[in-house]
Symmetry: D2
Subunit: 138 residues, 4 copies
């Protein structure tokens, strides 16, 4: 089993993302995680928008975040994402947000594949199954 | 022609809505306007969620905002909304955001009725047409 | 040791909080947690806005969320919050989001008290220490 | 008088920015405008974060938006920004959001320069006055 493949996206902090503490509000990191997850999905050759049009949803079942250092307006941060766990119907993604080398926030999100028509849990869509296994290093 | 009927909703400022200037970020007022608009629609007897399920969308075609005084975390503001103009396929809503008597922000939004199926412009849904005319004071 | 005191706030889902899946986007629950936490802080007799003005920040160090059922536009949900753990410099709050009796989302957030001037960790401000212990059921 | 200088930033639509209509919620365009404004300010040689640290705020006094076509998840849009009007204490920025050549949204925002210490209106900071005049094509 190989290392999972990492993708990294650069995100410029938006003024709207700061709060009156003068730092990025903690809820925004879930949105940044999602941007990095979108970039990782793109590596399967099937952007998430296309996967949804094919009738599948990758819904969020859980999330964990650990905030170490604040991000600020004026910063550009790098958000890394990789597949941390891959099961037949579930996946976990892991994330690290860094400014230069400094780790600001880390976290994971748990997801379930759902058939958009029935809104019931389903297996990983065949469309991306092999590619996700490859990205997971399996 | 009577005065249009006004509805007013109380909104407690959320910490997330502040920015590093220490005041509510200006984009949030469009969200607050929408909450008041939702309350006004409810007065037709058909909540907007039900109107959408009936196959109609009231999409936003334009907006104008004038910011006079900031809102802050710790404030509860009152957002008033009324029908400012009613045409066969279009409407304009007007808004005022106040803290006690002080006017903080005012604005308008312009909307077009759209058939959700065809995504084309349509007449005001019969479901709410009479009630909207009454709310508009027509 | 008694049960911690629970506070519950009612939140009407905002249209802006939905995403194209037709449900409330998962990042919004952290914002709703914060609203309930604000209400719990208010029970100390010192609203969080006042605590900040007194020179203290309660920064977020971690968060965990478990998503069970979606919330939708048209829903009003109840967000309950209580003190789950209270140490000399740290606290954990727990949350449950329900629509009627149904549990939609649960979670916790971990916090550190910080001196706003030095931005260094500090003990629970004397202003609210006794009241927080009481709320925690200690 | 020359043409004002235009800056353009590419923005990838975030899933969080969509709503249950399946398109980008209208409030997000003000946030995108702000990103483009930040990029334009950077052309003065003094990023807005630095201007704030120098004790000046460029607060929003008004906004106008015209929504022509929706943006969708999966799109990358280009947001253009330029100085539309420059007075001694006030400025107006104009914006266009396009997907390829198609104009999706246009708008303007009106701003007032404020001394961060006194929170009173002030003249354009000397730091950026000449550069803003040059960007405005004056």
């Amino acid at each position: 089993m190989d290392e999972p493949q990492r993708v990294s996206v650069d995100i410029e902090v938006r003024y709207k993302e700061t709060d009156q503490m003068g730092v990025v509000h903690h809820a925004n990191f879930l949105v940044w995680f999602e941007l990095a997850r979108t970039a990782l999905c793109r590596l399967t050759g099937h952007p998430y928008a296309e996967i949804e049009r094919a009738g599948f949803l990758l819904i969020v079942a859980g999330a964990e975040l650990r905030y170490r250092q604040p991000a600020r307006y004026g910063d550009t941060v790098a958000v890394a994402c990789w597949v941390d766990r891959l099961e037949s119907r579930r996946m976990r993604f892991a994330y690290e947000v860094r400014r230069d080398e400094e780790l600001l926030v880390s976290g994971t999100t748990d997801h379930i594949w759902v058939d958009a028509g029935t809104r019931r849990s389903c297996r990983i869509p065949g469309l991306v199954a092999d590619e996700l296994r490859r990205l997971a290093g399996a």
